[in-house]
Structure formats: C-alpha cells, structure tokens
Amino acid sequence: MAPAMRKGESGPDEATAFLNARLIDPASGKDEPGGLLVRDGVIADLGGQLRRNAPERARVIDCKGHVLCPGLIDMQVFTGEPGQEHRETLKTASNAAAAGGVTTIVVMPDTEPVIDQVALVDFIQRRARDNAVVHVHVMAAMTRGLKGLEMTEIGLLQRAGAIAFTNGKASVSNARVMRNVLLYAKDFGALIVHHTEDPHLTEGTVMNSGEVATRLGLPGVNKAAETIVLERDVRLVEITGGRYHASQLSCAESLAVVRAAKARKLPVTCGVSINHLTLNENDIGPYRTFFRLKPPLRSEEDRAAMVRGLAAGDIDVIVSSHDPQDADTKRHPFAEAADGAIGLETLLAAALRLHHNGEIGLLPLLRAMTANPAKLLGLPSGRLEKGAPADLILVDLGQPWVVDKAEIRARSKNSPFDESKMQGRVLLTMVAGKPVYQYGGAERA
C-alpha cells in the first residue's frame, strides 16, 4: 500500500517525519517500533519517542508499521555509459535503483572507454550529478583497459573520487601484476575488488560443468576455476597486506578459502550476487539466456552453501551484479549469447525470498546490502543513526507482486526474475532527504 503523504506548511528546508515505523538498523541490530525525523538531508532524530509525534512544520509520512531501514548499497552495477547507452545509462540505472530501494550504486569500469583515467571518473561523476536520482560512485579500473598488465593511476583516481579498484569482469591472470596492484593500493588504503575466474579455464565455456551442462551439450567450467584464483589472491594478500574483496563468489569451496583467510585476520572480504543466492543451474532449463551469468549459476548445493555462508557472516556483501544486455546480445543460442542479468529492481524482493523461506534472518540479510558495503567502501550511509545521510527505504515486507517486463525501469529487460512472484515491495525511496521513488504514486519525485 502506498503510504499517506501530506504536505506540511513549512519552508523550503522542511523536515520529514516518518511515524509509526518498524525501524530496522542492520548496523546496530536494532529492530523496533518508532519514528524518524529527516532534516537537511540527514537523519535528525529517531527512536520510540517519535513513533506517534511529529514536530511542527514537518511533512508527515505514516509508515503504517512497515519497515523503515537504510537504503541499499549495491557495489556492483554495470551500465552502458559511456559507450553502450542503448543498454543502460546512469539515469536509467539510477531510476531502476530507486524503484528497487537501492540508494547508492557503485558503477563498474567495464565501459567503452574503460574507466581507467581521472578524466573518465570526472565524466561519470558529472553525468551522475546531472542525471541520476541515487548516489553514484565509481569503481575504477585497476589495470589499463582492464587488460591485466599495467596498473592504473590508483592514487590520482582515488583523489578524483574512485571509491575502489577492480578489473571488472576479467580476472588478472598475471600474479606479479596482481601482487603489485595490491602492494601499491595498500599505500593509499584502496580496496581491490577482484572477479575470480581463471581466464584460461573459463575460455570457451558457457555454464557450470556437471550433469546439466552435459545433458544440454554445453561446454561447462569447473568451479575450481573460481577457487584457484581466489586461493592465489589470498596468498598475495598475505604477502602484501592489501585490502581485498572477492567481488562475487559462487561455490562452497571458495567460501572455505575466505573463511580461512578471515580466521587468519587477513584483510579479505567477499560478495555474492543475488542470482547465486536465489537461482541455480537448473533454472537455465531450455537454454534460457537470461540465466547465463558470470560466474555461472552453480548447483543447488552450492546455492544453499552461499546462503549458509551469508548467514554465518562469511559473505559480507550481496550485489545485484546488474548487467544490462539487450536482444542483440541475448537473443542468440545459449552458447553465443552474452553473460549477465539485470537486478537492481529485484535485488531486495529476491533477497526477501530467503527471509520468507526461513533461510536467513532479516537483519543479516539487510546488513549485507547496507552496513557491510558501507563499511567496506567507507560510506557514511547504510545505517540509521543521527547525522547519517537520509538514504532511506520504506518496505512492505508482505506485499505480493509479479515482476513484469513492461514495468521494469532499466533500459534492458534481461531479468531472470521476469514473471516471477515476489513478496515484499519498496513503497518509498528517499535519497539525501528527497523522495526519489514512491510506489503507486508519481513514479519520480
């Protein structure tokens, strides 16, 4: 249900009061009834005392007992800007994010040209400032052209605003390059985010190896391709001390490596895509290309292991890995189609499936999309706290809905959840104190 919203009679810097809310702050673990006051773009106050009473001259939103929590932070979003704007722009991605309850997106450098220079970081930031309705941060390339050979100007890129460094969809196969990047980045405290898939083992493969691939007659890759690179990287972290984040893991063996690294107090963290938490290789069914992903969907055992790893805290972050592809790249035989699925608009709803199924609690689930990525990236958001940015979402956990391609705001429609039944809907998304999405009402503020 859309929340009631009525205008107060105040000036331009009016406050907004959320009353009668279920306040969930994954950072502190709080889940309690209360209210929250937003003023000047930040959380001015919150707690039980604000549950029913709004200060004067505040615009009041009655939350009707629904969940008010920090907006989601998605640290892996691919767009087509610059170079492939027909797939997605910063503007369309941000609209999709707002509708999905994502208030901060980190865009990947896999564009044309690759974001490997200061001027391109500036470009993204300017375009985002002018066109995006959510916060946009740039993850810059850690090697020139994402070729895995020469490191980029990590120091200058960081000064320009790059929030972390990655080699995008490609693993760096040269261990010396990887070592030097980790070593050099350490001096700047920069986070290195790495996609771990051995490029030689994955070459020519299109899905997970196993019974399904064999029946479909498709070339598969063993999940060891992921773990091999991860194990090497952990060794390199050990000798360099660089901050390292495995961008999206997909199998139990990889989690064991991360768990061991964390036990040795190494600065290692990892993420998982929402797809690998909620789908498996059987979903590919009759060669459905929207389920062709990188890393590929694995077995049900691996999916279940990822959920357990999330609940246990081995996995730090959930990403949408939003990767817009159009008919030109997806309407092909499975083996010839592109990898990738969109996910910004379905991230929260798909994640809530795990909660509704009883696979994981709400707090650890939300933490992996709010407080944890905020901590990794050094962002002030991702928590309900006085003074924190008013990046908030109001969520009806129970509302049923069906994903409809026609209503997807992302420019590309390659959603693996198309026509899926979901339970849980974002009612309102607020970024820096301004509503940017409202369900059922005017779509954009």
Partner: protein, 316 residues
C-alpha cells in the same frame, strides 16, 4: 706531495661494499678527499701518487659520469688510465665474466674499476685477479664511491653527518646508491629514512637500517637532507608505478613537499635526473641543491680512494 693521513687510515685492498667500512675508514677517506677537493680547485691539478700505475675502467654497463669521474681522478693522480666498455665487445662474443677478468689480469693492471649489471659480479671478479678492485656499481647491490661522495658533500655543507636526518626517496628496491648510502650514513651516525611506494621498497627494508615511509610528506618532515633517487623509465609504465604523472604527484620532489623538510635542508640527486619525474626542475636548480657539488666531490672522493689504495699496492 702526498697528503698526510690524519686520523685512522683506510687499509683495504679492495673497495667492494660499504657494509664493511668502519667510521674510521670513512673519515679517513673523507679527510683525504677534502684535500683532493681543494687540490682540484688549483690550476695545477696533477699529482704523482699513481705514477707508473695502470688503472683500468671496466664497465659492463654504460656510464658517463662515474666512468669519466674515475678517469679524471686516475689521471690527476698520474696513473695510466684505460677505459674498457665491455657491454658491446667480448660479452657479446660469449666470453664469461671470469674469462674477461683473467684476460685483463694478464695485462697486469694495478687497479680495476668495475661496474656490472649483476649484483655480486664485482666481488666475483675481485676473487680472480691480483690487483685492487673498486666497485663502481654492481646491480642493485652497492656503489661505494657514490655513498662516499654523498657523505663528503653533506659533511662539507653541514659540517657533520652524525645526528642529521637523511630522507632517501624513490626507487630503493632497485638502487645500489640507496643501499650504499644507508650503510655509510648509518655508520656515520645519521638517522636514515627510506621514502617510497611499497612497490619500490625491498622486503624487510627496515632491516637495512632505515625508517620506512610510504607517504613522502611524512617522510620529509624535519629532514636535514633530501636525497632523491633516479627512477628508471621502464619502471614507470605500470609495473611498479602507474605513470610518471602519478609518481611525480606523490613522490616527486616539489616545493610543497620540500617545505616539510628543514628550511636549510640540502637537496641531493646522484644523477642523471629525470626532471619532472622524481624532481621538479626548479628544485633541481634550487639554491639549496648540491647536485653539482656532488659531481665535483665525486672526482675528489675517487682520488682519495685511489690514493688510499695506492698505499696498499705492492712495492709502495
């Protein structure tokens, strides 16, 4: 007119590494070099300490300033000097280092000055010949006369070495100049800092006797001496350092970073400089830059080393 040695004397057959030099050795050489420096400012610079002696400059790696400095030092002391640049001759014909050494040994030189691209090569050669050997640079290992000329430059400008804070900045990993200077400066009682990105610091760099800084502003704070190192071009292309632009921004000596050092801090560079890479052009030509003094002291120090060695040669 041989200058009398005042304090301790330098009594070694070879000069291969600074690690083995005592404070007495270094002081003796610097005292001798002081006199040589004064001598070099006279109209008649020629002396006869090495008359009748043969000095061979054996350079397996191209060098302009070190080789000419040794050549001049040898000639001013009256030696017959021969320059051999091996990089383009016998090594290309497949001769091994030891064979080359034996061949040269048969020519009966008195002093061999050797530079080689491989660490340890000069020491290996020294084991095979009968004459004195001076290491003019072996790989990333040692370059003793550079450290001595730097020490002389510092001592003449500051009146002392002990107690000074010296910041050595740049490619410490690949630098024989850094290693030699760290040895000499520590032996002489200076506090030595190493300033570099982690990719240009050798593992366990602190064990060399330096305090390590990866932030140049912090590393230069209160320094008496700022000693810049040369960054090889092939190391600026993304393997160790992303680009010359980024290197200059974070590790190039400019006025802003220099302001962190003491107001009377000296600026040094072993040369050849990459202006705009490790050092701003205006800093290189700064009134506190002693880079040209270093070149002058280079000849004096090499004369001192040659003279001290001449005393150890047979039939002296």
């Amino acid at each position: 007119m041989t200058a009398p040695i005042t304090q301790a004397s330098f009594a070694r057959r070879h000069l291969l590494t600074c690690e083995e030099l005592t404070a007495g050795d270094i002081s003796a050489l610097l005292d001798l070099a002081d006199k040589a420096a004064d001598n070099n400012r006279q109209i008649n610079k020629k002396r006869d300490v090495l008359r009748g002696r043969t000095l061979i400059n054996l350079f397996f790696e191209a060098s302009t300033r070190t080789q000419s400095s040794f050549e001049l030092a040898g000639k001013r002391l009256g030696a017959d000097v021969m320059n051999m640049n091996v990089s383009h001759s016998s090594m290309q014909k497949g001769e091994t280092l030891v064979d080359t050494a034996m061949t040269l040994n048969a020519m009966r030189p008195d002093i061999l000055v050797v530079r080689h691209h491989a660490a340890g090569a000069v020491e290996l050669l020294a084991q095979k010949v009968d004459c004195s050997v001076i290491n003019a640079g072996d790989g990333a290992h040692q370059h003793p006369t550079q450290a001595l000329l730097d020490a002389l430059t510092i001592r003449r400008a500051k009146g002392r070495i002990s107690g000074l804070t010296v910041a050595i900045c740049g490619d410490i990993m690949h630098s024989r100049v850094a290693r030699s200077n760290i040895n000499v400066l520590n032996t002489m009682g200076a506090r030595v800092r190493g300033v570099a990105p982690s990719t240009l610091l050798p593992p366990k760099a602190d064990r060399l006797g330096i305090e390590v800084f990866t932030d140049m502003n912090a590393g230069l704070e209160g320094a008496d001496i700022v000693m810049m190192l040369r960054l090889q071009r092939e190391r600026m292309q993304g393997s160790y350092v992303p680009s010359t632009r980024e290197y200059y921004h974070f590790f190039g000596l400019d006025h802003e970073k220099l302001a962190r050092a003491k107001p009377d801090a000296l600026i040094m560079h072993p040369g050849p400089m990459n202006r705009g890479v490790e050092i701003a052009s205006t800093i290189a030509d700064h009134s506190r830059s002693v880079i040209r003094d270093q070149v002058e002291m280079g000849v004096a120090v090499r004369m001192a080393v040659l003279e001290a060695m001449a005393r150890q040669l047979p039939n002296h």
